[in-house]
């Protein structure tokens, strides 16, 4: 059987682990640059804010509700996620980490044994890490997804339907909510009078394959209880790596653009090396803010095919700089730049090109750089001087401390107010 373990309001729950005072208060987490709301606690969801609302539009409402607002603290979320995945690994060797807050597990046993395991998983993750999770179990990944969705609404946050319960559940499941179908396809299916998962499983295989491609067909089989998506225990290397961000202020100077370009290129190169790959194509783009209608608009990108695969940061940064020099036009207010690496292949040893002799010392340097940055934090070593507080850097005004990964950010426990005789015996 396949179980989906899904953290409840993960980012908001992470913020609460070291802030017990936030237990019943609405908590929201903002996107990069503090722009929009990306995560909400249950209490915040009850305020019925529009999904992805920009902070400034809902600030007043949040203040009235006594909500607490955080910048996204991916260092903290990543550390707590790693702990949770480590706990889940102790239940089964067959585990797919699907996202930062979700994992598929292969579990065995009778319905009763599965229920026991699900309760243990839920209780252990909550006690050990402080994050509430929901567990949904079904014959296939798609069914486990549906079960976990329902588990979130149960008091116990666990849902393991018996075979006789599934038909009713499928009748209550909108096709839009099925894993891998989504809103757009869902709309199309609705127009063909296919509203629920129960409607969908009645369709002919050939019709589904024709109208919804092979993935749709596999989804159909999964809904019927036939496993068709296997666990991807080690995710395949990414075929494209994107590193981009919006600036919190309009950026006008070339120096800032170049600095941001070097930083994004370094970040992308780091990801490339982390999966042992190299890329053959580098794409770079710049754009102004289309929502500022009074501004003159400009957007342009550039792609460069390399004659040999690269993963060495200084080489990638110099390609990106060469591109940005051509893309940059003075007089515009830039909103965003992006670096995209593609045609990714496994990094190989030895001579790669007749005219290019690889310097093996580069690999050693990059390995050392990656190790230092992993240990002492990003930006410990980088490829271009970063001036402190330069304008393109991320706006994170409401960042919570790095409670678990930084010595100076450790949570503080207060050892009693001095001489306060309170609530004593007798």
């Amino acid at each position: 059987m396949t179980a989906l373990v899904d953290c409840n309001s993960f980012y908001a729950s992470c913020e609460r682990v070291f802030r017990p005072d936030l237990k019943d208060r609405p908590v929201v987490v903002l996107s990069n640059n503090d722009g929009c709301i990306v995560a909400m606690s249950r209490e915040a969801k009850e305020l019925n804010l529009p999904r992805g609302a920009p902070l400034f539009k809902v600030q007043k409402l949040l203040d009235q509700a006594g909500a607490v607002v955080f910048s996204s603290n991916y260092t903290l979320y990543g550390d707590l996620s790693r702990r949770i995945m480590e706990i889940l690994e102790s239940f089964t060797p067959h585990l797919e980490v699907y996202s930062i807050d979700e994992a598929f597990l292969e579990l065995r046993g009778s319905l009763e044994e599965l229920e026991d395991q699900a309760c243990t998983i839920r209780d252990r993750v909550f006690s050990w890490v402080g994050i509430p999770v929901s567990v949904g179990i079904g014959e296939t990944k798609t069914l486990a997804k549906i079960a976990s969705h329902r588990a979130k609404k149960n008091a116990g946050n666990i849902c393991i339907p018996t075979p006789s319960q599934w038909p009713d559940i499928l009748k209550e499941t909108d096709v839009k909510e099925i894993w891998g179908i989504g809103r757009q396809y869902g709309q199309k299916l609705h127009s063909k009078e296919i509203h629920t998962a129960a409607d969908l499983i009645l369709q002919e295989d050939s019709w589904v394959k024709k109208n919804m491609t092979l993935v749709g067909l596999k989804t159909l089989w999964e809904l019927r209880g036939k496993p068709s998506f296997t666990l991807e225990e080690t995710p395949p290397p990414k075929q494209g790596i994107m590193s981009s961000r919006s600036f919190s202020f309009p950026v006008t100077e070339m120096e800032d653009i170049m600095e941001a370009g070097a930083d994004y290129a370094s970040r992308a190169a780091e990801k490339l090396r982390a999966q042992n790959s190299a890329c053959r194509v580098i794409h770079c783009s710049v754009m102004t803010n289309p929502f500022r209608e009074s501004d003159r608009q400009y957007a342009r990108g550039m792609t460069e095919q390399l004659s040999f695969p690269l993963s060495y940061t200084p080489s990638i940064v110099s390609v990106v700089h060469r591109q940005l020099e051509k893309l940059y036009r003075p007089g515009f207010r830039y909103k965003k730049i992006a670096v995209f690496l593609s045609e990714i292949e496994p990094a190989r040893e030895g001579q790669l090109d007749l005219f290019y002799k690889k310097d093996s010392r580069n690999d050693a340097v990059m390995e050392a750089v990656d190790r230092i940055n992993n240990r002492y934090g990003r930006h410990s070593l980088h490829c271009m001087p970063l001036r402190p507080g330069s304008r393109w850097q991320m706006k994170r005004e409401r960042l919570s401390p790095l409670y678990t990964t930084s010595w100076k950010d450790l949570p503080v426990v207060r050892c009693g107010a001095p001489l306060l005789k309170q609530r004593g015996p007798g």
């Binding site: 706990i87 329902r150 004593g424």
Partner: protein, 164 residues
């Protein structure tokens, strides 16, 4: 729909029976190497064969990495227990709290360090300083055990570490 009587626990409450959990075996690779074989005095060192042995402080302080957190202490209500202001506490959330253990508790939405004491059928939070009074836990109190303190790290040389 299945409904489960076992509701979501908010960590350990007073009535909860102690739970024993098995701890996943985990290799700990970081550590302090013993540089015995670096002493070269003109003849092969007999210690060279023991090069693999490492004193690993992580393994000593952390039994269960997934559930172990570090917090810093501020205040002097636990000095008699050997916990002083500025010390680091290693807190293991997988250890079931028991009588006489030092715990990090949440009391009315705030973290506090106290000794958990069972006396006369009641639970108490005992400070380690006569200037403070013990707190008796009442059912209606907003109280929760956050984790059990397993070690305290106290630094003797002030200003010698980057950790403050």
């Amino acid at each position: 729909m299945n409904s489960y009587p076992k509701s979501l626990p908010t960590a350990y409450f007073l009535s909860d029976p102690p739970v024993q959990w098995e701890i996943p075996e985990k290799e700990n690779t970081r550590g302090i190497p013993c540089y015995a074989d670096l002493i070269k005095a003109g003849f092969p060192s007999p210690a060279a064969d023991y090069r693999e042995e490492i004193l690993d402080f992580n393994a000593y302080l952390v039994q269960n990495p997934a559930s172990t957190f570090t917090v810093r202490v501020e205040g002097d209500s636990m000095i008699d227990e050997g916990i002083r202001s500025g010390d680091l506490l290693i807190v293991d959330r997988s250890i079931p709290p028991g009588d006489g253990m030092v715990i990090v508790a949440i009391l009315y939405g705030e973290f506090t360090v106290k000794k958990l004491v069972r006396k006369g059928g009641r639970l108490w939070l005992y400070p380690g300083n006569p200037a403070f009074d013990p707190v008796r836990i009442e059912l209606e109190m907003e109280f929760q055990v956050w984790g059990v303190v397993s070690h305290v790290i106290h630094r003797f040389l002030a200003g010698r570490s980057a950790l403050s």
